[in-house]
Structure formats: C-alpha cells, structure tokens
Symmetry: D3
Subunit: 282 residues, 6 copies
C-alpha cells in the first residue's frame, strides 16, 4: 500500500494560516504593484540538494488557496528521492498568485522534505538490520501532524502522536509510583484496552521488572551498546524494544545491530535542516 | 531599552494550540494514571548546552494554561547567555500539570533558544564590523512572530515580517517590469508613504540603476566579495546595503568586512538546531 | 487513583460555545429585564432521579464564564451516586448570572450524568464477571471527549477515541483486503509500534484466522451466546475479547458470563436518556 | 411550502468539526492501511427501524468534506417516513473516503432522525387536536440549531432558540419581580417591539394575572388536566397556550384534548434515542 | 431597571480581535522602543464634544487584555450625557500597555458613543410623542450586537437582530407570494409561536389587507405624513405601527406626531459620525 | 497598474462572519416561509446617490457563500464613479439566496463605497496640488483592511496599517523620551531596516529637532496654515510632510496649498456616511 496522504481537511487550516501570516493585513505589496493582473507565468519547483520529497499536497494547496486558477503538476511523489536540480513540480497560471504563494509553499515543502530526508538517511544507515527509525514528541509546535507524516515519508515510523494515544512511563512517573511495576499496574488499570503501554528503563534491573509486570514496549534510554544487547536478549521478543539517546547517522548502525526494534530520534523533527527547494521561472 | 516582550495576546493562542495538539482528545494518560492529584513537585529547567535563552514567556504560559497553581520563576532573561548545566527557571506546583505541560514548554523554549543562539553566534562573528545579522521570510509556518522575536533576542535584527509591511523587489519582479527602474517606479506609485522599498540586485549595473531610481535598501544577492565591496562603495550611504547568499559563521566575517549594513540569513529560522534544554525534578 | 478530571483547556471551549449558542446576539432578555444587577441568590443543584453524577467541572465553568463572582460548591464528586432529591452542588452569587448560565450548566450535567448512569447500570449488571463495559465511536458529534469521560465516570472503559488512535478492522476492510489475515498484515506494516490492532469477526473461522495472524483484540460481532463462549475458549487469553451487538441490561449478564473481557455498547452515548437534574432557588 | 433546509454556511462548521474530532491528528489508520487509494465503492444508507429521516444535508457534507469525488444521492427527503430496511441514500465513489466519513455521517443522521421520529410519534398522538408539539432549550450543547431543525422535520414547532429571541418569564423571575404582572411590566418596557413575551404560570390565579397584564403566550406548567382545561377556557384565545411537564406519548392526547395550542417536550431533544441507520456496501 | 450590560463573553472576542488587528505580527514598535517597561502613567478619557457615552466595558476590556495591571475607573455610565471636555474615565497603570491599547479602546467608544448620541438626538426630537426610535439591520458588519446596544444606550429600541428572530415581510416577499395576505399566511404557518410577524406596506390598501390577515406590526414605508396619519387611524391599536424612510431630526417630529409607535432609522448605525473622545495624559 | 483586489483569503472570513451574524441560529425565517426553493430571480444593484464604488468582491462573495448558483455580474469596477440610479451589478439566480444575502452584501458595499466616495471628494478638492489624502488608524474595529482598501479605491493613500508596520512617535512618546531627538534615537536603534519612522511635531522647533535627528516623515499636527508653510519650507524635501487636524473639504485646499505631501483624515474611516446602494428586483 503506498503512503496514505494526509486528509485535506487536516492540512488546509495549516496552509491557510501560514498564508495569512505572510499576507498580513494588506497582502503582497510588491507583486500587486509590479505584476499585471492578467500576466501568466510558468515555473518549476526544483530541488537544490539531493533528498526525499515531502509536502507536495501542502504546496499545491498554498497556490490553490491564493488562486484556484494556478495549476500545480507534481513530477515527483512524496517519498520520492530527488537529485540536485531535479524538477519536483511545474506550476502554471496567473503570475501574481504564483509569486504571492511561493514562499509559503516552499516553507512547507523544504521543511517537510528536510525531515523526510534526514529520516531516510538514518533509515539507510540501519537498513542492514531490522531496526526502524521513529520520531518523538519533540516536534515543532503546531506542526506535529505534518512532521510525523514527513517521518513516514522518509521511511520512518511514528511514536505516539501525543499524550493521549499511548502510555509512556518515564523516570519521573516511576519515581512517583515508587517502582516500575507499580507504575505499570496503575497505568494498566487506568487506560482502555486499545492503549499500549511503554516504559522507559535505564537499567537492566528495571527492564526485568518491566518485563515481569508485562508491557507492550520498553524504551532503553541512554544505555551502552553492551547493555542494549543484553537488554534485547532478555526481552526475547516479549516486548517491542526501542533505543534512544543522541542517535546520529554514525552511531545508528551500532545501535541497530544490538537487535532493537526501534531507534527513536528527536533530532529528526527538532533540528533537521531543511531540504533546499526553489521555484524557478521558466 | 531592554528587549520588549511579545504581548501575551499574541503568544497565548500559539501556546494554547500547542498544548491542545499534545493533549489530543483524552489528555495525559500516563500522568493521570500514575501521579496523584495532590502531589507537589519542584523542577529546574536547565540548559544542556551553552547558548542564548529565548521563549521564557511561552514556557511560563504553557504551565499556567495547564494549571494556574504552577509557579514559574525565571532565573535568566530572554537574551541571556547560559552555560551547559545552567539553571534557567524553577518550576514548582502540582506535579500532574508540570508533567503534562513539560514537553510543550520545552518544545517552544528549545526551538526559540536555538534560533537565538544561532543568531548570537553569527552576530559575534561580525561584531568587529558594523554589519547586523537579519532573518528572512524563510520561517517555520505559523511561528514567524516568535522566530523573529528569537532573532532579536540573539542580537539580530528583523527583515520584513511579511508581504505587506515592505516592498522587496526580486528578480522575477524586475523581469516582469522590464527593468529595475521601472519596477521601482511602479512600487513607489503603489504603496503608502511609510512603506520602504528594497531591491534585490545581481550585478553592479543593476545596483547603479536602483540607486539612480532611488530606493531605501538594496540586497546584493550572491555577489562575490569583490563585487560586494565595489557595491558598498557605489552605494556610498545613499541606501541601506544588505548581503545575502549562503552565509555561514565562516564566511560571515569576510562579507561583513565589505562594509555592508546587513547580512541576511535564512538558515537562522529554517535550519538552526534547537538548544537542548531539559526539566529536571529536584 | 481517583478518576482524573478533564483538563480545563479541553472543556472550556465547549462550555463557552454552548453559552454563546444560548445567549445569541442579545443575551438573556428576560433576566436582564426583570432581575436587578445587584441581587444575590443561592440555589441548590439537585438530582430528580437516582443516578451517577458527571460533569461538575463543566457546570462550574458555565457559571464562572458568565460571572466569575458566582461560587459553585460541589457536594458530590463525578462518579458519585445520588438518590432522588440529593443535593449535588450549591451555587451562590449574583442572581442574574446564575439564571443566565443555569440551562447550559444543566444541559451539560444532565447529559453527562445520563451517560454515566447508564454505564453504571450496565456495569452493575455484569459485576459478577470480569467483563467491562466500553463505549464506541457512536457519540454525539462534538462531544466525544466529554461522553467518553462520562463513560469512565460511570465505571466503564473507553474504546478508541477516533480513527487515529487504534486500528479496528471491520467487515468492509476484510472484504477489501480479501481475508482477515491479509487485512491484519496490511495494518501491521502500516502503523506505529504503539498502535493496537483489533479485528471484528463474525464467525469462529474468522476468529481462528485472526488469532493465527496475531492481533491485540478481537471483536465478536453479533455472535450467539454459544459461539461467544466457544470464541472466548479459542482465544485462550491470546487476545483481548470484546462482544458487541444490541446489548441491554437484560442481555448483558449472559454475554458477560461467556468470559469476554469487554462488552461494547453504542447505546450509552447515542441513546441514553439524561439524568434529570434541576436548580432550585433557596 | 416544503421544509426549508438549513443554510450550508450554518451546518458546515459542525460537520467539519465532527470529522476533525474523529480523524484526530493522524486520520483513519485502518482504512489508509488496508484500502487502496483508487478503489471505488458503492453503498446504501438504510434505516434499520421505522422512523422519520432528518439530516441528509449533513450526511452529504460529511462525505463531501472528506472527498468531493464521493456522490451522495438521496432516495428520501428530510421529513420522509421510512420503513425498516428502507434505503435512504446511495453513496458512491472512492472507497477510502466513504469508510472514513461513514461514522460521522451516520452519527449526525441517526441522532437527527431520532429527534424527528420522536417528534413525529408525539405529533401523531395529538393529531386529532389542534395542539402542536414544540421543543425546549434542553438541547444537546452545540447542536441546538440542528436539533430544532429535526423537530420541525418531525412535524413539530420550535420554541425560542435561545435567551435572546423571546422572553420567557419563569417562577424565579416572578419571585424576583414580586408578581407576575410586575415581571411582565418590566419585560415589556425592556424589549423591542418584535420580541414576544411568554409567562410560566403554576396556578389559575397567576394565569388571570398574566392575562390581565397582557402577554403573548402562557405556559401552563405541570398543571392537572382539569386545571389545564380551565386555563384554556379562561385564556379564551387572548394568548397562546402551552402545556408542559413530563409529557409522554401516553399522556399527550389527554393534554392535547384540553385545547392547548402547544405541548412542549424537553425529552425530544435531551433523551430521544437515535434512529438506527447503517451504511451497507453493495 | 438600568440598562443591562452586554455579557463579557459576547464582547471579549470583538475587543481581542480588534487589538490583534492593530498589533499585527510585531506589536507596538513605537512604544516598545521608547517607553520603559516599568514606567507608570495616568490619563483621563474625555469627551471632546457633547453626547451620550456608550462602550465603557469595551474600553475597559481593551486595556485589560493588553495588561491586567491597568486600572480603568469609569466616571460616567453608559447612557450618561457628557459635556465637551467632560472626563469619562481615569486610566492608570503601566504606560506601555496604556499607549498600546489606547486607539482600540477609543475606536470602540467613539463609534458606540456616536451611535448612542445620534439616537439620543432623535429620541429627544420626538419626546413629546409616544413614538420610539428604532434601528435596522443596516449595521456595520460584525458589530451588530454592540451597535444595537448603543442604540438602547441612547434611548432607542431595537428592531430584530437578524433574519431569524422575527419575520419582516418586504415588498419582494409580497411580490413572490402574490399578495400581502398570502405572504402573511405562509409566514404564520412556518414559524414558531414566539416569532412575531411584521409587514411592510406601501399603500393603505395593503395596510388594510395586512390588518385583516392579522399581523403583529406594520411598517409604513415611505408614506406621506398624511397617509401615515390615516394608516395609524386604521390600525387603531390592532398592530404596532412603524414608520420608515429617510428620517432626520428635522422630519422626525412630524412623523412622530402622526401617532406611530416606532420610527426606524438606518442612519443611526450606518452613518452616524463618531463622538470625538480622546485620552489625555495627566 | 490598476488597483489590486484584496486576496479572497483575507476577505472571505469577514463576509462569512457577517452572514452568520445576520442568519443567527435559524436562518432567514421570512424568505424560507414565503419564497419557493426553485424560484429564480434577477435584480440590479444600483446606486441611489453619486459616488465611488468599492467592495464588489465582498458583495459577490456574500451571494456566493449563501448559494454558489447565484451569478453576480459587475457592471462597474471598484473605484468607478457612479451617477444616481446607475446600475452597479446584475444579480441572478435562486431567489431565496438572493434575498437572504442581500442585506449583508449591501452593508459591505454601501459602507466601503461611502469611504471611497468621501476620499474621492477630498482628493478632488486638493487635485490642483501634489498633496495626497491618507487615512489613519481611526478605523472601524475588525474592518481596517477593507476600509484601508476603500481609501485606496477612492484615490487616497494608506497610512500605517497598525502598530507594527511603522513607527509613529506622538507627543506622549516624546514626553516619555524627554525630547524629539531622543525618541527618534530610541526608535531607530530598536526597529528593523525596513521600518520607517515618522514623528508628530507641534512646533517648528520640534520640527527642526526632528529633521536634525533624521526621520522619514513628519506629521505637522494642528498647525496654522502659516506654520505649515514654514514647516514645509524648512523640511525642504528632507522628509515626507504630513498635515493633520480636523480636515474638511472646505479646509483641505488651503492645507494642500502649503505644499505638504500628505493630508491625513480620520473622518474618512470613522465618520463618513455610507453611499446609498439598493437592490431592485427586475
């Protein structure tokens, strides 16, 4: 099944709000002053770097919301790899609207493609193992849904979307509960049957306690490679294993080779640089 | 005059929306299950890296909107430099709310502090000249106001906030108008008396044409250091000079030494990594 | 751990919108005409029927949003059982605001208490078994969060909150995929590691297929009591078992005695009558 | 004149919000995983019980907002009676969108049809008299406009829509004013010439006072059948007469036979069960 | 009973939106640059013309939403007459917030006071008769509620608030229906019992038809003074009589002397000049 | 370049909100009751006075948002002068929607055309000079963008749009700073390079100080004609000159003849009467 697009009803408010943020109260002074209303134009959206494309629907919407007469023909699909200089889309129609919507379209696409490209690089680094790259809740405020989508686009998988769709017991929760097992017990008695429970453990002793209590997943936090290996062995398939802690393309392969199921990386969404994408008049 | 804070009426909707994005429909399942409602806690927000702090008001608001009983005492001010491990704020009050709001507070602060820190690094690199670092419209969708603020916090200055508060004539506009001078003429006859006009020029010939037509500022785009120097000489104080084009901390000093007034850097807002900030229970 | 309240940031928009719906453009004509602005009043919110109370925070908010000077002292807690005539809360303060907010406060409380009371009745009917009562997505549009909360208040548990927090494979999905196992395979490869997968099965053959493919939960849809029993045996603890299909207080005990873990009831949220609650001036 | 539809500008925000409530942050995980994007489907929306249909425009909108390519052909009209099994509409188009929007469409239609059907039953019970069935302000928060519409669809009439479109003087208002006549006097001097005034009376003495003061309508609250009859006689056409107080299909005929113009029933909107409606793939 | 204030829940969104409209993305550049954050100030809001004050609650809210530390002490009440130079309120607190909110506060107050003052002038012109001045639906878009309130403040009365709170049959409706009486018949059978029906009539023949059909009010549109007098006689108290058509303070007395109950004036809300009000530092 | 239209994304929310304000909860009772759903109609929007038209896009949107089947054919363009009785647009389609949207469409057009017409009158009065008419921030709350547009439509120019797009140093700011030059110094060091600085001066001494400090524009506030002339001479082209203070069509020519560049007039947006426009059935 190909990657499912985000429903337009979810992304339209974001694109609309971003356009309004750029238009302010008076709109595009420069373009309104200089470009005749009936001038037509054609432009190519092109990558200036190699990477993975994400966000075509948002770029299309940015142009459409400014002027429905603008045609946006994608030459790539979200998730596609592009070489430097590769054309991603052809945009054609009234020149005014194209110039007015350009920056908003590019701001969405370059940021989402940046996240997708970073994810793809990490995914490639661990592709010789079964490990998958997952993101965290360290996302850009207000953009979580599209950043999580960009991670999927880059070949990664999503951790929970918020505080309400899964339980993740962290060190502070354990401290309050008194023990890993008591924290798990409380969580299980509180949540519905379709909510999974994951526990963050710092030591193998905590891991044993979590496995004994029964959990869906364990997060091996900042463990040494050696401890991770031992942890994966002890888990023995009884829970999903996730590793976290300052993962880089360099350290990822070793972490993946410990046998963990998942490697979570906050950097993907909080610090990945954009993919440089431009719009060139034809 | 110290840096002016953003009015709460402007930032409250962002913080509220970010909290709702994280809470989803059911709130913080983990904390609700494990942490008793009457448990009090105390935590320190601390920098894990050296950098410049920005966003304290948004962090304070995140906690307050979840529970007004949480007290947030800042130990630093926006714009202050922090060393690794330095305490930024003390947060005290009901433990539940603190755990629920923590990630949203940190997501705002770490991102804004990342922008401020990157700006400060660049500003330091050119501090031996009169050049100032400015940002662009390549900002995170929906977060332009707080990213522009973070740039100011880091010692930078702001370019226009959107399409409506200044005219910036780019190559496409010049192409449509037929010449730099015609584009300037159209802009001047269109806009109000409090709107400045800046023109992007690629060559010294275009620069001469712009200066002859009279503009408030010129953007020397992707010029060689040599051409920039000549450009600044020709301008001779008749317009504000701005340089742009893939500026890095390494290239910035040379660019600044050409005598330009401003160096604009998209990277500050589209690709600066976060400043790592955490919340540690006491 | 007592039932966790809904965060005010989640419920305030609902209460505010409901008040605006009632106030219209001109506010409370009757009260404004008749009641002097400085008149104080005291009233008791009382149950007119036996039931379980839910929604006190929304009622309190309704009064506070109209006039912060109104004091709302709860005499019961959400989840508490009340007898006919029992006082639930004392409301005191400016008479105008109390009369203006009364209907909105009662509309929330009586509806939520109706859901809680219906849930409690069903939960009591199966309390001799391990079965829990759960709700569905057949909720009142726009009120899902508070109806799910009301179900918890009545002693029930929550099924998924929407289309995005768990997978529920229904007959149509199976038909498209070609088989139960193919549907499960597609779901597993698509979703993140913290998303559970449940499958609706109509026959024991489908159940066997689901169990072989491995799922977190199975929904035995409209099966005979006999088949349910057999189904529970075959599951043998390998998945959570859920029964559904026109459950009533009369049929619930027999269904529960089959050994299923959960009984889901759409009626709780789409058709439970309100609990009659009134506000009586003292 | 046939029943006028609700303007789309009024109902679109409700349908949109309900869809977003169901989609959450990530959309329809199950359908996205299992159903190919290009699969077409056809389904019939059918009643599972006899009743009166209401809400077709909202159902149509739910499908259209998810995918404009879905065609929704109504086979009935709002207000039409349907037999068990009767087809109400044919829905055709992309299977994904149909599955994603289905629950929201049905949640609106079944609830509104439930209100319409309950109204129709009561209206039938008094059809041998001139009495009309009217609803109250005891509506579902946020859904008043569509519930009032559903009441009209079922052959009922609408009481006031909120606190601002008519005056309804209740016992508390009378208590504050000191007398029925003083309350009426205050109301009349306060409101505009197009605002009607109705007074709730508990006794025939109060009724006489109200009639002497001159009102547009009187609400005979919880009176005995005998008193109601006397009340109607005394009114003698000088005001509209309304009866209220725990009306059921059983008691309604007797109440109607007293000669009252209106019988108001809160139950229609706060406790009527849904009309069971399903969507069956063809 | 004194004039009832508008509920804060109704006016707060307007004031908030107006402040955001003025603050834009970056706030008050001038004040932030020049005024120290800790400077306190005191100012007097004063009328520069004689008139009637309206909108004090909105002015107070404008200051409070910018800075809750600003104190706003009203020296007059809505509806009070002020002489030129009269102090209306004293504002005290942080100078920054006072300067930032000043224009928004004054924009609301001067506009609303302008409407109130114009109403008061017209009301005075007909005070020797029983006629009341009423407004129309020709209000400023988005400000209807506060303009209708301003009319009440000036001693006027309100016509309907919108299309949904009363029936007003105009010439086009009559043309469609075929006759005044058929239009009235259709309206009566369509609307609820608390909705009044008014008909616009151009001739005495139409008036007779309307009275025969039975209506709550008749609008004598653009009739001669002579015809109005005859109209009022024919009505003989059977309906409320309203006159309209380019009313001025000069023509109003003659119209009022015809005996009509109401004189409606669109000019009050669409063209009344503001009352000049300023804020002077002390 | 012809006047640029406002982007639809900016004006649609205003028109939508205005329609909802008029529709209330129940829509157009009168039209729904009387006009058959399938009746077609044709009407002409016509000026009842001479003036300048503005707001055609908002009128078109009002009809389209109520019913997309309504066709709106403009016979004039924004900025066009119309004679009394002149047709502005032809509206054709379903009669119901036309009647329902009519008032909202006219409320926008008549108000905006009123502002445009007033501006045009003043602009004509000074057309023998180089002076331009500009508006202020004394606009109708929530309607600033469309009122500023209407001023442009009438041949005027726009002052700043809010507090954030330019610096305007007023007497209070000067008082706080201690001097005009210190206020200018603070402003310059605070704002970005594309923000202009204007200073309000009351005396020629202040003017000299401002010119010495260097500003983009000076506002000669309430000066005598004689002083204005001297002021313009002293400025000698070094700054833009603006005159303000109770300008009328009578006083404007003399002010303009002093040689000022701009004359600002708050009256245009806070007190200009509407242009009377009606919709006549054909």
């Amino acid at each position: 099944m190909p990657l499912a697009p985000l429903p337009e009803i979810l992304i339209e408010p974001l694109v609309r709000q971003a356009l309004l943020e750029d238009l302010g109260r008076a709109g595009d002074l420069t373009t309104d002053a200089i470009v005749p209303p009936d001038l037509a134009a054609k432009a190519v959206m092109a990558a200036r770097q190699a990477g993975v494309v994400a966000g075509l629907d948002l770029a299309r919407l940015a142009f459409r919301l400014i002027d429905p007469a603008i045609r946006f023909a994608a030459l790539a699909a979200d998730g596609g790899e592009v070489a430097p200089g590769a054309a991603i889309a052809v945009v054609e129609g009234p020149a005014r609207g194209m110039l007015t919507a350009e920056r908003t379209a590019l701001n969405f696409m370059s940021r989402m493609s940046g996240v997708a490209s970073a994810t793809a690089r990490l995914a490639a680094a661990v592709s010789h193992t079964k490990a998958r790259i997952v993101c965290t809740r360290k996302t850009t405020p207000l953009l979580r849904a599209i950043e999580k989508y960009a991670v999927r686009t880059g070949g990664g998988s999503n951790h929970r979307f918020g505080l309400d769709d899964a339980v993740l017991i962290k060190d502070n929760h354990v401290a309050v509960a008194g023990s890993v097992s008591e924290a798990i017990r409380r969580a299980r008695s509180h949540v519905g049957h379709l909510v999974k429970i994951e526990v963050e453990v710092d030591t193998l002793a905590q891991l044993d306690e979590a496995l004994a209590a029964g959990v869906d997943a364990v997060l091996l936090d900042n463990m040494s490679i050696e401890d991770m290996k031992r942890g994966v062995e002890r888990i023995g398939g009884r829970a999903i294993s996730e590793a976290s802690g300052r993962v880089t393309p360099e350290t990822a392969p070793k972490i993946a080779e410990t046998g963990v199921d998942l490697i979570s990386v906050g950097w993907l969404t909080h610090s990945a640089p954009i993919l440089d994408i431009g719009l060139d008049a034809v």
